[in-house]
């Protein structure tokens, strides 16, 4: 018999983990040790006293949990729906392919089809030979030149519209900028500048939407990150976070998640980033 054994028994019995009663041998052992008696008394006092009543969490915890659960369920639902649709379309296309291969093979041997095929072949050979003419290269050059000119004209038009006082004109400017595939760095710079200071939320949201075309943000990424963390307009801030989480570099995504974890962002934005991370995780 040791002190350790008796203390183990005491704690286990207080924690309802051991229902055995104290044996005579144990009782005698305890009676002979005043230090052990003190220890047991203390343990009993501590285990049976109500050190602190249970504190109830707020309703916010419930709200947040059920919001998270419903998001997870919708993500699960969407992904299973996608899988089913994918399976169905795969099955359909395989069936269609099978059917169409047989039908095509049968059609090839119909006499009228053979004559049609011969005519088409002649037209194709003639057309191919005519297109080999040296003038065609010049035409191609002229066409791509014209295309470039149109693109630069659209860029100029977009840039001038972005400077307009009317918000609807600026919105049109953003729409024009989308037509240029944002290859002009000056135009991108102008858009980001406008995103920083424009008073109209619609214009700013349209710009963020357009910037999604870029796929990579290069040197502008840090600027967009700063904006995303300091933005006061919640809607714009969330859209900026979405843009960076979808198209930003891994480093920027990590930085943004870190900001959310360190509670440096508003609860709504933190919630959004968590949900996005969870959606990608699930």
């Amino acid at each position: 018999m040791t002190n350790q054994e008796i203390i183990d028994w005491k704690i286990a019995s207080l924690a309802n983990d051991d229902n055995s009663t104290l044996s005579i041998e144990m009782k005698n052992y305890i009676e002979n040790s005043s230090q052990l008696q003190d220890e047991l008394l203390f343990i009993e006092k501590f285990w049976t006293s109500d050190v602190k009543p249970q504190v109830m969490p707020s309703d916010k915890l419930d709200a947040n949990f059920y919001q998270m659960l419903s998001r997870a369920q919708s993500v699960q639902h969407n992904s299973s729906k996608k899988e089913t649709t994918q399976h169905q379309s795969d099955y359909k296309s395989t069936q269609q392919k099978r059917a169409s291969i047989f039908a095509k093979a049968r059609n090839w041997f119909i006499p009228t089809k053979i004559s049609q095929f011969a005519t088409l072949s002649v037209v194709f050979v003639l057309g191919f030979n005519l297109n080999q003419a040296p003038d065609n290269e010049k035409m191609n050059e002229a066409y791509s030149g014209l295309k470039q000119e149109v693109s630069s004209l659209t860029t100029v038009l977009a840039m001038s519209m972005l400077q307009n006082d009317s918000a609807s004109e600026r919105l049109s400017g953003v729409a024009y900028s989308r037509k240029t595939d944002l290859s002009n760095p000056l135009l991108v710079e102008r858009l980001i500048d406008l995103l920083k200071r424009d008073k109209s939320t619609s214009v700013r949201l349209a710009i963020i939407n357009s910037l999604g075309q870029l796929k990579t943000f290069g040197s502008s990424e840090q600027q967009l990150f700063t904006m995303a963390t300091q933005e006061e307009n919640l809607l714009v801030q969330i859209e900026l976070c979405r843009l960076l989480l979808n198209y930003g570099s891994v480093d920027i995504k990590n930085l943004l998640t870190e900001q959310a974890n360190q509670q440096l962002l508003t609860p709504e934005v933190r919630e959004f980033i968590k949900a996005q991370s969870m959606a990608s995780f699930i």
Binding site: D17, V55, L61
Partner: protein, 182 residues
């Protein structure tokens, strides 16, 4: 009624709504666990939320080798450890340590109990987090020795000896505080 292990297996199988039952059964206990480990209310709520989010994300890792409770507290402990690792500069907002002792003379049972509770809280706050954790898991979260040993990944005998050591430190601290207060 299904036991919690069974419910967690259903969550693992894709019945995410079953997590709501587990949440309702455990939210208060988990919240109080975080409060008792020295976190404020707002942070404790965030930690409960984060724990359940991780349970959802890591649901495939639940294999039922231990009880659901020990698995859940394992995630909860990692959640709080990760939080403080990420926020190194953020000191533990220790409600227990800040609790004022009542310096009035003992006038009735209520005050005596309150006084004693305050000293217990102070004693708990004064011992090492590792010792405090073992005592709290047994005393307040009502985990049995087997569950705690699974959670802490140690054998039963080691756990018993650690528990005795922790209780002895708690008693020393308690007696010291009683001496200071009398």
């Amino acid at each position: 009624m299904l036991d919690e292990n069974e419910l967690m297996f259903q969550v693992k199988a894709g019945q995410l709504d079953k997590l709501a039952t587990l949440f309702e059964n455990n939210k208060v206990k988990l919240f109080n666990y975080f409060i008792r480990t020295g976190n404020n209310r707002a942070l404790s709520e965030d930690l409960v939320q984060e724990t359940f989010m991780r349970m959802l994300a890591y649901r495939t890792g639940f294999n039922g080798s231990g009880t659901f409770k020990s698995w859940m507290y394992g995630i909860a402990r990692n959640t709080v450890a990760d939080h403080y690792r990420k926020n190194k500069n953020q000191a533990l907002n220790c409600d227990m340590e800040n609790e004022e002792l009542i310096n009035e003379q003992t006038l009735g049972d209520e005050i005596e109990i309150e006084q004693q509770n305050a000293i217990f809280n102070k004693s708990l706050a004064s011992i090492s987090p590792q010792d405090r954790d073992i005592i709290m898991l047994s005393r307040f979260q009502q985990l049995n020795y087997q569950e705690i040993s699974t959670l802490l990944d140690c054998n039963l005998n080691t756990l018993k000896s650690r528990m005795r050591n922790a209780v002895s430190k708690l008693q020393m601290s308690y007696q010291k505080l009683i001496g200071e207060n009398s």
